[in-house]
Symmetry: C2
Subunit: 217 residues, 2 copies
């Protein structure tokens, strides 16, 4: 938010953000299709006309909700990576924040939910979900390459294949946790992710990984 | 179907099966919540009253659709395993049929779709999905144990952790194929699954795996 924004605009912006936070929660649990203007008016205390003033249509509300979900994912998982040393350390912390985020958010992984909901449809909502998912997969591949370039992962490491498998562990974690209420599975996902980094790690990379894991409470 | 079933009952059974096949397709693409009596009446040519005579309620229709999805999964993926030699060969063929099934069915993995849809809800439909998913995970673990007992996987193989990772590859395959239309990802999923079996394989097990893979067109 721009600090020089006039007060009434700032208030409007803030209320819009509050609505979108609620909307991300509803979409994670019940799907983006549950985001009707009437339903969101009910839970947010907005009037239908007020909501339509902000979002114009159900589809605009869905698209804005996706953007809000992306922003909160970036903030929780990706942005803190700037503070980590590039390479193995940054990669292991990124994966840890990812699984932490999945288990902390009520309803589990927002993007796994909405992908499953829209993957057999056409239109702007599906395109937006696909673009965001590609962005995250590309991000993982970028950080894996960075670790390879830093000499922490073996030169021959296939970063595309590794990102495919890492994503699988997150999806398997999310499914078991959401469907069975199995909390122990977080440990299983972490172990699988760390094993990927260990198996592809160079000597220097493995040493950094073990330092990182030993330093944990 | 019982061959001694009176003709009018057999016909009723057959029409019920036809409806459920359509219902599995709708649920995969649009979700179990799209299975309203009115909608299914429209696409099946049944009257609403006729459908209600078969299924009583939307929830009964959803539960029957889950059973039909399970039956078709068992038939395509699990039942042919009886014809395979137990151990590595049975395991690799089982995984191949699994990924084949996921890519052949329009809309992708039925159980991934309905899990994502119902994993934040309560009730009989969710319980039924969770029971079926547990059954399949248990099945994978059973076949992995069998391969371990046959001396084809190393004694120390953690079958629970391996089933967790294998499931992840299927979920990652399904997500990328459905969302990006990426057909090449089937090869990626297969490679990840075969690498799991190779890495945990004993010498005898790896020989069987390579024989199996070489025999392919």
């Amino acid at each position: 938010m721009n600090e020089n924004m006039p007060k009434h605009m700032a208030r409007g912006h803030q209320r819009r953000q509050q609505v979108l936070e609620l909307a991300v929660g509803v979409a994670t649990a019940e799907g983006l299709e549950a985001l009707t203007i009437g339903r969101v008016a009910d839970i947010s205390g907005f009037t239908k006309a007020g909501l339509l003033g902000h979002f114009n249509s159900k589809e605009e509300l869905q698209l804005a909700t996706l953007k809000a979900g992306r922003a909160s994912f970036l903030q929780a998982v990706v942005e803190p990576a700037h503070a980590d040393a590039p390479g193995m350390r940054r990669m292991v912390r990124l994966l840890d924040r990812w699984v932490e985020h999945v288990v902390q958010v009520r309803g589990g992984c927002f993007f796994a939910s909405v992908s499953a909901e829209f993957d057999a449809r056409e239109g702007r909502v599906r395109e937006s979900i696909a673009a965001m998912m590609k962005e995250w997969i590309g991000g993982m591949e970028f950080f894996l390459k960075e670790a390879r370039d830093a000499g922490h992962l073996e030169e021959g490491t296939d970063v595309r294949a590794m990102a495919f498998r890492l994503h699988g562990y997150e999806l398997s974690l999310n499914l078991r946790r959401q469907l069975f209420g199995d909390e122990g599975v977080l440990q299983e996902a972490r172990a699988a992710m760390h094993a990927e980094l260990r198996n592809a790690g160079t000597r220097a990379g493995r040493r950094l990984l073990e330092q990182e894991l030993e330093a944990r409470p």
